[in-house]
């Protein structure tokens, strides 16, 4: 299919073919998606991320997309994705193929929540079903897209927003974002970042969105349950997923799930959920594994001494605050 095929679709850069099953970089299927299947690859939400995509080994975002697709399929839900500039749109691959089994629109870096608002509006005006999901990295969420996200949350748009947080501008080769943790070396913090991460989940909870939660691919049952909860809620749902990035974290691809598990165990990435910005529930109690192990297995931290004492203190204090909130303002029964 040449670009001429796109003209039948109005001349826009529309990619509709599946990527080849299995072999990365292999030949591509030759027919456009239609009628639910293409070249024998079922086109259901289960295949939200199709086989044959060229994402990095150990990519947490890819695992997250697969788990999201599975949860949607289990719930019998479909979705449309609005994806800003980030690895999530690179995932689609090159025209005329796409790695996504659902409709996707690429948005400008700051605009995913606004575009998703427009899509969700038309869905609701027409009484249609299906989730509208903005899928964005930490750069698009914590940094350039924060105003847009805040506004969509304030309007309580009926969308799901997932931030896969790999704590770095991964797509551009590893620059610091306001989600990069202290001590991490990036190309723009060669001596290690000094500042703490923004507490984006607290920022979103402060918007009193109906549902906000953190996700870890190391806790798949918790992940799936939270997607189910998100699907059952109307209005703005914000999900923050800790997303290992071997390229950015300078870690072994096979270590990815273990790294984010360590982050949960050590209290670096607490798993909790907040309803309406007021009710808190902690999902996994940290066992207070020393975070030193988490840092030791990523070379982004190795050249620069992470202040372990300060890190342990920050983790303990954060968890204490969350526990206090969960005790004082528990989930409604």
């Amino acid at each position: 299919m040449s670009a001429a095929a796109a003209s039948a679709n109005g001349g826009s850069a529309v990619s509709g073919q599946a990527t080849a099953g299995g072999a990365p970089g292999g030949s591509v299927a030759t027919s456009a998606a239609s009628g639910g299947t293409l070249e024998g690859i079922p086109c259901t939400p289960e295949c939200l991320l199709r086989a044959g995509n060229t994402n990095c080994a150990g990519c947490g975002m890819s695992v997250g997309l697969t788990m999201l697709g599975r949860a949607l399929a289990d719930a019998g839900e479909t979705c449309t994705l609005a994806i800003p500039a980030c690895c999530g749109i690179v995932t689609a691959g090159a025209f005329p193929t796409t790695s996504y089994g659902v409709p996707v629109v690429a948005t400008t870096f700051a605009s995913a929540p606004a575009v998703a608002s427009g899509i969700a509006s038309v869905r609701d005006l027409n009484g249609e079903t299906g989730q509208v999901i903005a899928w964005a990295g930490d750069g698009g969420t914590y940094d350039i897209g924060l105003a847009t996200l805040s506004a969509a949350a304030e309007r309580n748009e009926n969308i799901i927003y997932v931030c896969y947080d790999n704590e770095i501008y991964g797509n551009t080769g590893g620059q610091r974002s306001s989600a990069t943790p202290p001590g991490a070396r990036t190309t723009t913090t060669p001596a290690g970042k000094r500042e703490e991460k923004k507490d984006i989940l607290a920022i979103m909870a402060a918007h009193r969105v109906p549902y906000a939660a953190s996700l870890s691919i190391a806790h798949p049952e918790d992940f799936a349950r939270k997607i189910r909860t998100a699907l059952s809620v109307h209005g703005m749902r914000f999900l923050l997923m800790h997303s290992p990035c071997p390229m950015g974290w300078k870690s072994e691809p096979a270590d990815s799930p273990e790294l984010v598990r360590l982050a949960v165990r050590s209290g670096l990435f607490p798993l909790y959920e907040v309803v309406d910005g007021v009710s808190y529930r902690i999902n996994v109690e940290p066992d207070w594994t020393d975070p030193a192990e988490y840092f030791a297995r990523q070379r982004r931290f190795q050249d620069h001494q992470v202040d372990l004492e300060a890190t342990r203190r920050v983790c303990r204090e954060r968890f204490e605050r969350l526990s206090t909130m969960a005790r004082a303002f528990p989930f409604p029964d």
Binding site: A13, V102, T107, A114, V115, G118, S121, L125, S150
Partner: protein, 408 residues
């Protein structure tokens, strides 16, 4: 149909909203809105319009206003918005996306001086900043032309031979805030003129596609070429829509390029928007005095009506362009394009630029008289001439003063 005394902004808001309402039998209407002087009344009009199937989303920035409209459009809704000046500059990235996605969004822009310094008066620098984007651009002279052009804009944008967004421009305050008698067509007529929107490449769950993923140079270049081909079809589709407009509403929405007394004119002024009103009266008076002068009013700026311009200037030997805009280092934008249109066809034609009312100053009949006198006396074209500034300029200020100090 009702003749009412309304502002240009009211006319624009009415046309955008009734056009959105006309898509109620299809996928409805969606627009993101954000205020900026002097267009705010347009989005306020949309916000209070009782859409039967539409949603107006008050967002936090112009960037998101266009973002919401893009989301609405890719889902097949009739989508529109309005902005001005620095608001357009802030929106710019998504304006570009709407064009490259071939989304039939209509935006009304009230031309206002880009700041700093802070200035709310008419200047076309804001929309001309978008001139190289895949948007059709129409410039309007009167409230009626604003209303008619917005309705025409949806017809053009949504035609499957075109599928490009359209920008409809009007002067700050001179048109946006001036009340004139305007024919506001009833909803039933707008319904007749605007069929249901069917966007061929809208997102569909049953046929999942990715809009805007990576595309290699040759495919990307093909998409640019297709935009060029669509632009080339605009004049023809415009005439078709114009004929149908006349049938439905009983009046002519106006040609892409409008001439006045050009048939035998030796000297021709080229003007846009409300400047054309003033220039037409000056030309009329000069004609009565026996001078062979004429006026070309450019309504459509993109695509640029090159052939029509050359035809209008066939008898002329001098053309004066009145630009209410300034492209730093290269004079007025309309002048540049008039010269480009004539180059290689009419190299004998003298094309002189007059920077008139840049940053919102009044373009008076006396100023237009002065341009015609200057044009008459000229033996060759010179640098763009700043009009009306000598009378008001005091001693050198800012950079000019600093430069004088250095040379002294």
């Amino acid at each position: 149909m009702a003749i009412e005394l309304v502002t240009g902004n009211h006319a624009a808001g009415y046309a955008l909203s009734t056009a959105g309402e006309a898509n109620r039998g299809a996928r409805g209407a969606v627009c993101g809105i954000y205020p900026i002087t002097p267009q705010t009344e347009i989005v306020e009009y949309a916000a209070r319009f009782p859409f039967s199937k539409g949603r107006v989303v008050p967002v936090e920035s112009e960037h998101s206003a266009m973002g919401v409209s893009i989301g609405g459009a890719v889902s097949g809704a009739r989508s529109f918005t309005a902005s001005s000046s620095n608001g357009l500059a802030y929106m710019l990235e998504n304006v570009m996306v709407a064009g490259f996605y071939r989304l039939p969004i209509v935006m009304v822009a009230v031309n206002r001086t880009l700041g700093p310094p802070w200035n709310i008066w008419a200047d076309q620098g804001d929309t001309l900043m978008l001139r190289d984007f895949p948007w059709i651009q129409l410039y309007c002279e009167t409230n009626q032309e604003v209303l008619d052009s917005v309705l025409m804009a949806f017809r053009l944008a949504e035609d499957h031979r075109i599928l490009l967004p359209v920008l409809v421009c009007l002067d700050a305050f001179i048109v946006s805030h001036t009340q004139t008698e305007t024919d506001l067509p009833g909803q039933e007529l707008v319904d007749r003129f605007l069929p249901d929107l069917e966007l061929p490449h809208r997102l569909r769950a049953e046929d999942p596609r990715t809009l805007g993923g990576l595309s290699w140079p040759i495919e990307s270049m093909s998409l640019r070429m297709e935009i060029d081909e669509a632009m080339a079809r605009v004049p023809h589709v415009f005439q078709e829509a114009r004929t149908e407009f006349l049938q439905v509403f009983g009046r002519d929405p106006g040609d892409a390029l409008q001439t006045f007394e050009t048939d035998d004119a030796e000297r021709i002024l080229v003007a846009t928007t409300s400047i054309a009103t003033t220039a037409r009266e000056v030309v009329r008076a000069r004609r009565r005095a026996g001078e062979r002068v004429g006026l070309v009013k450019l309504k459509m700026f993109r695509p640029f009506p090159e052939a029509a311009l050359r035809a209008a200037c066939a008898a002329a030997d001098k053309v004066g362009v009145l630009d209410r805009n300034y492209a730093a280092g290269m004079g007025g934008v309309f002048w540049q394009d008039v010269r480009a249109a004539c180059q290689g066809h009419r190299d004998d034609l003298m094309v002189q630029d007059y920077l008139t009312g840049v940053c919102g100053g009044d373009v008076t009949p006396a100023m237009v008289e002065e341009t015609l006198d200057d044009l008459t006396a000229r033996t060759e074209a010179g640098a763009p001439r700043w009009m009306g500034i000598a009378a008001t300029a005091g001693p050198p200020v800012g950079m000019a003063a600093a430069a004088e100090e250095v040379s002294a």
